[in-house]
């Protein structure tokens, strides 16, 4: 065994460089549009639209300032309210449901889970008109609350599924002890379960956050001025006067920044969430 390992290790040095180079190239290609977006945002308009493209330039924040001066904050706040609100609601509704589903006999749990997930498969456009008319009748048009409700619906199935898989990781002994102790359901949930699945909760919240923040279709149809969210701000930036690449890139960067940062800093949670807790 030792000879094979030694030989393997000798070759490893060379191939490590080779594979690393390839990996960095691939990552660069994928990351490039994001990088380009951020670079263009730091250029002036003439630099941004130049052919051949400007690679070396003095970065400037003027385009960002211009974008911010276009009354950006309300859109941002609306997005934040809709995203945080719906995520909270998903947790409040989803955690008890996930919990109940994790202690249920398999067959029934599977049916209910199937129902939940199937709603996520529904093409959104199908129920757009009735929802729109309902929202109109309930005075919920151009109201952030409508977005909260809709985003909760979109994220709830995934949230229940995720939370359930995290809950299944907790060992039985814990609950046995609590039950013998006579703990009621809520106590069980809040004092025992909640602290233990915090990473799982974080993962679920992150996934909900990503999908709610980036949501465009419902936002554009249900809001107009007061409750308009960041994607709509971005679309409104397509000026009829000309293609302003730098400003567009600045707006795009600002719009994507929160989710980019959240995803980057909470990568581990993101992966847990994406793999449905199947792998820790």
């Amino acid at each position: 065994m030792s000879r094979a390992v030694t030989v393997a290790k000798a070759g490893q040095g060379r191939s490590k460089v080779g594979w690393s180079a390839l990996a960095w190239l691939v990552a660069f290609v994928f990351f490039f549009p994001v990088l380009w977006m951020m670079l263009e945002a730091l250029k002036t308009e003439s630099q941004a639209a130049s052919i051949p493209p400007t690679i070396f330039f003095v970065p400037t924040l003027t385009e960002f300032q211009e974008v911010l001066s276009r009354d950006f904050p309300p859109f941002f706040i609306n997005s934040a309210v809709a995203t945080i609100g719906s995520t909270l609601l998903v947790i409040v509704l989803g955690l008890p449901a996930a919990y109940a589903l994790s202690i249920r006999p398999v067959a029934q749990a599977r049916d209910v889970l199937f129902f939940f997930i199937s709603t996520r498969f529904l093409p959104f456009a199908a129920s757009l008109v009735p929802l729109y008319l309902l929202a109109r009748d309930l005075q919920l048009l151009d109201n952030v609350f409508a977005l909260i409700l809709i985003y909760t619906t979109i994220n709830l199935p995934l949230g229940v599924w995720l939370l359930r898989s995290f809950l299944l990781e907790l060992p039985n002994e814990l609950f046995e002890a609590a039950r013998v102790d006579g703990a009621g359901f809520w106590r069980e949930l809040t004092s025992i379960v909640l602290p233990l699945i915090t990473p799982g909760l974080a993962a679920t919240c992150l996934i909900c956050l990503i999908f709610a923040w980036n949501e465009f279709f419902y936002a554009v149809n249900f809001t107009s001025s007061v409750a308009a969210t960041t994607p709509i701000f971005l679309v409104g930036f397509i000026s009829g006067r000309g293609l302003f690449y730098a400003k567009l890139a600045a707006a795009a960067t600002l719009a994507s920044l929160p989710v980019l940062l959240a995803g980057w800093f909470a990568q581990k949670q993101l992966i847990r969430g994406l793999t449905m807790g199947a792998v820790k």
């Binding site: 065994m1 393997a8 490590k16 690393s20 990996a23 960095w24 691939v26 994928f30 549009p33 977006m37 941004a48 052919i51 449901a97 109940a100 994790s102 202690i103 006999p105 398999v106 599977r110 209910v112 199937f114 939940f116 997930i117 498969f121 529904l122 093409p123 456009a125 129920s127 757009l128 008109v129 009735p130 008319l133 309902l134 709830l156 609950f175 013998v180 359901f185 990503i210 980036n214 279709f217 971005l234 679309v235 397509i238 293609l243 690449y245 567009l248 890139a249 707006a251 795009a252 994507s256 989710v259 980019l260 995803g263 980057w264 990568q267 581990k268 994406l274 793999t275 199947a278 820790k280």
Partner: protein
């Protein structure tokens, strides 16, 4: 069994090598959480349903009620632009929809887009995950870079692709390809489906990669070493051990990815608006067009009902597979 919450990351080390596969089908029997006899009575019966109700009622209200309304509207001849009361039309909308070539085109485009985008991003995702799983410099940074496309707002990403990269006059791609004579190609108009697929693959490959990479990293290292000792080279290890091991993860990624890609709307809206012609009109976009450009509520509702029925059929198959992939069993 080590306590799960004490672990931070890292691979599981199952007791035997046969357990390298993720838990597959759930146990045949009931498998609910067992209870001590004393407290069993308190939890039997309807009390167990209670925590599930809020979420269930909520979802039913917000998804099923509008769907019922959609079915109701589909029975009327109702165009918002021609005011007056909607007249009852029975199944007429369905007949119109069934004979409308636009529906068939939209269905075809939906399937084509989904199959291509999911297929390509899965293959790329697996390849890149294998690459990132090797011994290389700066894995953490690489992973951070790779998930960028997935996190960027889809609307923003599509705009950057369309205006700064693929624009035939000012775009970067055009400039890069001008030495080989492809400088002035109008990618968005001449290759619309390819453009949309490219944008979606760009967005979802990181997603696939992350899932597969996580699976790769949970492999049992002892098994891999044992294979090396037995004389298997890298390619054989890959083919006979690694790939089968990550198969559940690949399936998970493919299913989840399909779920999202089938509903693609943002990139189509921002780049091709469904065209040219009907080349990139998929089902969601068609619904949007009929409902919010044509304002034909009746017809849009009929299309919606048909879309839902089709989706349900596909979803049934998809979800059955999903459920066998990983642990649906409850506590033992």
């Amino acid at each position: 069994m080590p306590t799960p919450w004490a672990r931070t990351t890292g691979s599981r080390l199952p007791a035997t090598s046969t357990e390298t596969t993720v838990r597959a089908s759930p146990p045949a029997g009931g498998g609910g959480r067992t209870r001590s006899a004393a407290s069993a009575s308190a939890w039997d019966g309807r009390l167990r349903w209670l925590p599930l109700l809020p979420a269930l009622i909520y979802v039913v209200l917000v998804t099923q009620v509008p769907f019922l309304l959609t079915i109701y509207y589909s029975l009327f001849n109702w165009n918002l632009l021609r005011p007056g009361n909607p007249e009852f039309a029975g199944a007429q909308n369905y007949l119109t929809v069934a004979t409308d070539p636009s529906i068939r085109t939209a269905l075809f485009n939906t399937v084509l887009l989904t199959v291509l985008a999911v297929g390509i991003s899965v293959v790329l995702g697996v390849a890149i995950a294998l690459l990132l799983n090797k011994e290389i410099f700066g894995k953490g940074v690489l992973r951070t870079l790779m998930i960028g496309p997935f996190l960027v707002m889809p609307v923003a990403g599509a705009l950057i692709w369309k205006d700064t990269l693929l624009n035939p006059i000012f775009g970067l791609v055009g400039w890069l390809l001008s030495p080989i004579g492809l400088g002035r190609v109008d990618w968005v108009s001449q290759f619309p489906m390819a453009t949309i697929v490219t944008i979606e693959v760009w967005r979802w490959t990181p997603f696939m990669m992350l899932i597969v990479l996580a699976g790769l990293q949970s492999q049992n290292l002892e098994v891999l070493e044992a294979a090396g000792v037995d004389g298997a080279n890298a390619l054989q290890t890959l083919r006979y051990i690694t790939l089968p091991f990550i198969r559940p993860f690949v399936e998970l990624g493919a299913l989840l990815g399909s779920l999202f890609i089938v509903q693609t709307f943002d990139s189509i809206f921002m780049t091709t608006q469904g065209g040219p012609g009907e080349a990139t009109t998929n089902l969601p976009f068609l619904l949007y067009l009929v409902a919010f450009q044509g304002f034909d509520i009746g017809k849009a509702s009929a299309i919606g009902v048909i879309a839902v029925i089709l989706t349900m059929i596909v979803a049934t198959f998809a979800l059955r597979t999903l459920f066998t992939i990983f642990h649906v069993e409850a506590r033992r």
